[in-house]
């Protein structure tokens, strides 16, 4: 047998006794055996299968426990979603509020194209959400409404509520005055004691808790939206209050009888003309000191 084959067989640990003898006769025998013995020393440290398996099972167990922790990140995500949703819900339900100061008017377009003009010192509050199905707003002060056709439209005030389907009307809700004037369509006014459906040109008026008998108006929209305040048989105190709202002045009435009725108007552009417009008809004189006006009987 050739030397190469012998060595190959030896390498395969597959020599029979006869071949082994032949192998031992080879010149290379000593060298090969020396090499082989030396090679055996390259055996790695003992691999303990059992302890390694134990280690593996332990890390697999930890891993499955880790996998069970999917709940934690999920909860985190859920919390974020909840917060976002809550925030969205909160902000979408927040009321829109518009407020005017002295001598300021504000024109507002509601979500359904209804128009509101807000007079001085007034507040309007409504909610954008579900506006089309729930047209509901709160008013404190005076405003003129041009309501687009649609669902029932309700204006709530401290003195009563006004509900319409689609029309034009003015609401004035001041300290002891509650006045609704209908300019178009029909308007239903409900206060604590009185309820009335107004036709165009009709007025609903409660003054000092007294319901005032009908008085019709002929204008097609309120004067004030054209920068003029008009009064028809109104106590002078109401005129003064309105004047103060439009001009940021305080009026000292001294001992004038403010229950006296006033019919007339004043403009919102020129205080000098305006003060004359409300004093001369009642035979009053006035002295003006920056934003203080003092009235006196002539």
């Amino acid at each position: 047998m050739k030397k190469e084959d012998l060595i190959t067989k030896w390498l395969d640990n597959n020599l029979n006794s006869q071949e082994l003898e032949a192998f031992k006769e080879l010149d290379d025998y000593t060298e090969l055996i020396r090499l082989d013995n030396a090679i055996k020393r390259f055996k790695p440290n003992h691999f303990d299968t059992d302890s390694e398996l134990e280690k593996l099972n332990l890390s697999l167990k930890n891993r499955t426990q880790k996998q069970n922790n999917w709940l934690k990140p999920l909860l985190r995500v859920a919390a974020v979603i909840t917060i976002c949703f809550g925030f969205y819900y909160f902000t979408s339900n927040i009321d829109t509020s518009i407020k005017t100061e002295i001598a300021q008017k504000e024109s507002i377009s509601l979500p359904d194209e209804s128009q509101v003009i807000l007079n001085a010192m007034s507040t309007l509050t409504y909610n954008d959400n579900n506006w089309d199905s729930n047209r509901n707003l709160d008013l404190n002060g005076e405003a003129y409404f041009k309501v687009a056709k649609g669902e029932k439209f309700t204006v709530n005030t401290t003195s009563g509520s006004i509900s319409v389907l689609g029309t034009e009307f003015n609401v004035k809700n001041r300290d002891d005055l509650f006045e609704v004037i209908c300019y178009e369509g029909s308007v239903k006014v409900e206060s604590e004691l009185h309820s009335k459906i107004l036709k165009p040109g009709e007025r609903f008026l409660i003054l000092d808790n007294i319901f005032i008998k009908d008085l019709t108006v002929i204008e097609t929209n309120p004067y004030w939206i054209n920068n003029e305040s008009a009064f028809k048989s109104m106590p002078f105190s109401q005129v003064i209050a309105e004047f103060e709202r439009q001009y940021n002045v305080s009026i000292d009435v001294n001992n004038i009888n403010t229950k006296k009725l006033f019919t007339g108007s004043f403009g919102h552009d020129n205080i000098d003309v305006a003060i004359k417009a409300i004093t001369i008809p009642l035979n009053l004189t006035f002295t003006r000191n920056s934003n203080k006006i003092s009235l006196k009987r002539e």
């Binding site: 395969d12 640990n13 020393r41 691999f47 390694e52 398996l53 593996l56």
Partner: protein, 171 residues
């Protein structure tokens, strides 16, 4: 055709028996091929963890090649083609010895030469050769383990031996 007993290996007892069967072989394979700097023990563990994670997709008959491929890939991810240097066990110093200091020195030199020569082998040669010589495996077993033919194993081992002898005599 015999019906397969197990479709997959997601059973703990089966998985454990696979570990007992293959872990040592896998460890030796990785150790001889890549040396111990890359932690063949850890890679063996990792390969089995991967096997468990994929247990639904692996049939018992495919488990071995799965393990060896994964183990090899884990190593390749880290290996930077540096020389693989295997450590040998130092002879325990004997309290009374007949060996002369000259012999011990010569022996030490020889081992260092051999170490260098082994690291000069190709990965394939080294793995097959050491599995044969150190682990005493038959060529057929190695062929099965490495998924190559017996002839190829024979060639690798014989080639390795030749190269070793050449390198040692050169040094």
């Amino acid at each position: 055709m015999a019906k397969k007993l197990h479709e997959n290996i997601c059973e703990e007892a089966l998985f454990n028996s696979l570990f007992k069967k293959y872990s040592n072989d896998l460890y030796n394979f990785l150790h001889y091929r890549y040396g111990e700097y890359l932690n063949p023990k850890d890679k063996t563990q990792e390969a089995f963890i991967k096997l468990w994670e994929n247990c639904k997709k692996v049939t018992p008959s495919k488990a071995k090649s799965f393990l060896f491929t994964i183990g090899n890939n884990l190593m390749l991810n880290e290996v930077k083609h540096q020389k693989v240097v295997l450590n040998y066990q130092k002879n325990k110093p004997k309290s009374h010895t007949h060996e002369s200091p000259e012999f011990l020195m010569e022996e030490g030199e020889y081992m260092q030469k051999l170490q260098k020569a082994i690291s000069n082998l190709t990965e394939a040669q080294r793995t097959a050769f050491l599995l044969s010589r150190v682990e005493g495996k038959r060529h057929k077993e190695i062929a099965e383990l490495l998924n190559i033919s017996t002839k190829a194993v024979e060639k690798r081992i014989y080639g390795a031996l030749k190269k070793l002898r050449e390198t040692i005599s050169e040094l």
